[in-house]
């Protein structure tokens, strides 16, 4: 059941990416092109997602626990550190270059375009390094 619900959540998430147009890098890059062929659609994606999540979380997090876990696993950190700023800054650069953030990279995968076949393995290597780097450094410290 855990696995089935995980799959369904992913399927709904991915369908949202596809219907919203977020899965199309051309639409993403046009959203980011304020001074050119600006397409404001993606502001509506973020708006719709945040409104539903904001009110949905208020209902869900008011419950004693999730269905398949003892507790809600919520990030506890509140500090703004260099790692957060550097990571977010780099992520934006990559997103602006390729037009893919990680979710749409997954929905693009079965469509097998040349671009995604180049992008996806590099994305995984980058992610691996992004987690291994801090792990390695903190182990040495």
């Amino acid at each position: 059941m855990k696995t089935i619900f995980g799959f369904l959540c992913g399927l709904i998430f991915g369908t949202g990416l596809v219907i919203s147009g977020m899965s199309d890098p051309a639409k993403v890059l046009n959203f980011l092109d304020l001074f050119g062929t600006w397409d404001p659609s993606l502001a509506f994606v973020m708006g719709g997602a945040v409104v539903v999540t904001f009110f949905g979380y208020r209902v869900v997090l008011g419950r004693p626990s999730p269905v398949f876990s003892e507790v809600f696993h919520l990030p506890q950190r509140t500090d703004i550190d260099g790692q957060l700023l550097t990571g977010a800054g780099l992520f934006g650069v990559g997103w602006g270059l390729g037009g893919f953030c990680p979710g749409p990279a997954l929905t693009a995968l079965p469509l097998l375009s040349t671009g995604i076949l180049a992008f996806f393995p590099a994305l995984l290597i980058g992610m691996w390094a992004g987690k291994m780097g801090p792990t390695f450094l903190s182990a040495r410290a």
Binding site: G16, T53, V67, Q83, G92, W95, A122, M127
Partner: protein, 146 residues
């Protein structure tokens, strides 16, 4: 040019939100694509309990299956235009992957889930990655003229 699609985008966005709420209700987890994706890579995948890795792999499979399901149900292929510049896409992939994990989240984890929890870290991260993304496109399209 791409067509302005406020209704479809709002509806699609609401579905993304619904998935994030369901994942929290069922598994008690943030629907962050970069965090979920990196956690199923070695060596971290091997450090997780079986049930923990199962739903993550299933979630990823669900996202990947979505465009195929859409094609079957809607009867039309998913529209997308992807750059064919292989070296550009490799560089973009490396930077996107590294930055999203190093900064503890991407558009979904920080942008959707974090801002909905009113997390200051997520507001700052989202502001920063939106800003650098806008500047990157400004430079590539209007300064370099690509």
């Amino acid at each position: 040019m791409t067509e302005f699609t406020p209704i479809a985008s709002l509806f699609g966005g609401a579905l993304i939100g619904l998935a994030a709420v369901l994942l929290m209700a069922i598994h008690g987890r943030i629907a962050g694509i970069s965090g979920i994706s990196v956690s199923v890579l070695p060596p971290w995948a091997g450090q997780m309990a079986r049930g923990e890795i199962g739903w993550r792999l299933a979630f990823i499979a669900g996202v990947i299956a979505a465009p195929l399901a859409y094609h079957l149900v809607a009867g039309q292929a998913v529209q997308q235009t992807v750059s064919t510049n292989v070296s550009l896409m490799v560089i973009a992939g490396l930077i996107t992957g590294f930055g999203s994990v190093y900064g503890n989240g991407c558009t979904s984890g920080h942008g959707v889930c974090g801002m909905s929890r009113l997390s200051m870290r997520s507001f700052v991260a989202t502001g920063v990655f939106m800003a650098t993304a806008f500047v990157t496109v400004l430079i590539t399209r209007h300064v370099l003229g690509a």
